[in-house]
């Protein structure tokens, strides 16, 4: 086998080991005959298995981390509560002003309508 072919296959071996690539026939034939490529393939498989086992390992965080996280969440929660309270008040103010404006407008229309009626009846 030529060196070039070996290098072409070598670039695919990690993906072959994780199952994301299937070698074509010529490359498979090369690996079957090439001890170096076979060794690399075996080692990539070992490496991927070893990396995967890390997933089951949980490291022990330094003491105090949980308390720090909870404190920052609590602080963020308080800020959020204050913000939503302020937003609520703002909505109440705006609502109050809108209601007052609506009532004022309705009153003005009512007065204007009554005034027009009384003018009409006087004229009649």
């Amino acid at each position: 086998m030529t060196r070039v072919q070996c290098e072409q296959v070598a670039d695919l071996l990690a993906d072959v080991a994780d199952g994301s690539v299937n070698l074509d026939r010529a490359s498979r034939r090369h690996v079957d005959r090439c001890l170096r490529c076979q060794a690399e393939l075996v080692q990539y498989r070992k490496l991927l298995r070893a990396l995967h086992t890390l997933r089951t390992e949980v490291l022990e965080p330094a003491p105090g981390l949980l308390a720090d996280i909870l404190a920052s969440i609590e602080e963020a929660g308080e800020r959020r509560a204050v913000r939503s309270m302020l937003t609520g008040r703002r909505i109440a103010y705006v609502g109050g002003i809108a209601a007052a404006a609506t009532a004022g407008a309705a009153g003005a229309i009512l007065i204007a309508t009554r005034g027009r009626r009384s003018r009409v009846s006087l004229a009649g």
Partner: protein
């Protein structure tokens, strides 16, 4: 996450509805795993602590946007990966030496016969050490893909790189880990050959 955290669905629903107590219970159930991921990504305890705190804050603020179509823990991995990437990026502005992909891995046992090293049992400590020696950009991709099974697309999105860049980094990371943990005769020649070709 890997260890028995159990079903977090009810807690997530309550937390999304604004129950802060439920969110705190979620934190208690997951923080050690989140710390483990953060440590694997940053390779430093202090950095991992900062990343974990920032991750939970982001999760707390963004919980309403979590649609529940992925597992809560997967969503948390992605936030943690994003925070770690940002954190390391910020730190790299002050420590340029950390970010180069071209720092050669030191041969810590030059006297040991490579064949004997190949046969030696692969321990978690060795692989953890090898991961720590990788440049952070390569380490992040290989940890997220090969340890935590995140798809290329998610990794690319959280690290702010293209999918093809994520694949290239994964390829380089795996190659370097293999060469560090199981050096073969000829790896050195091949490296030199690649360098000459460049």
């Amino acid at each position: 996450m890997p260890n028995e955290i159990g079903d977090l669905t009810e807690l997530v629903i309550s937390a999304r509805a604004g129950d802060q107590q439920a969110f705190e219970t979620l934190v208690r159930a997951t923080y050690a795993d989140t710390y483990t991921l953060a440590y694997r990504l940053t390779g430093d305890e202090e950095d991992a602590r900062d990343v974990v705190q920032e991750s939970y804050l982001r999760a707390f603020r963004g919980l309403k946007r979590f649609r529940g179509d992925a597992q809560f823990t997967t969503w948390l991995y992605r936030i943690t990966a994003n925070c770690a990437s940002t954190h390391l990026g910020r730190r790299a502005k002050h420590r340029h030496d950390e970010l180069s992909d071209d720092v050669p891995l030191p041969d810590r046992n030059p006297d040991v016969d490579p064949a004997a090293r190949n046969d030696a049992r692969l321990t978690r400590d060795r692989i953890t050490d090898a991961l720590r020696l990788l440049p952070p950009r390569l380490r992040a991709v290989v940890v997220l893909r090969d340890v935590y099974d995140l798809p290329h697309e998610a990794i690319a999105a959280e690290l702010g790189i293209s999918e093809s860049a994520a694949k290239v980094r994964l390829h380089r990371a795996r190659k370097r880990l293999r060469e560090d943990l199981f050096p073969l005769r000829g790896d050195q020649e091949r490296e030199e050959g690649d360098a000459r070709a460049v």
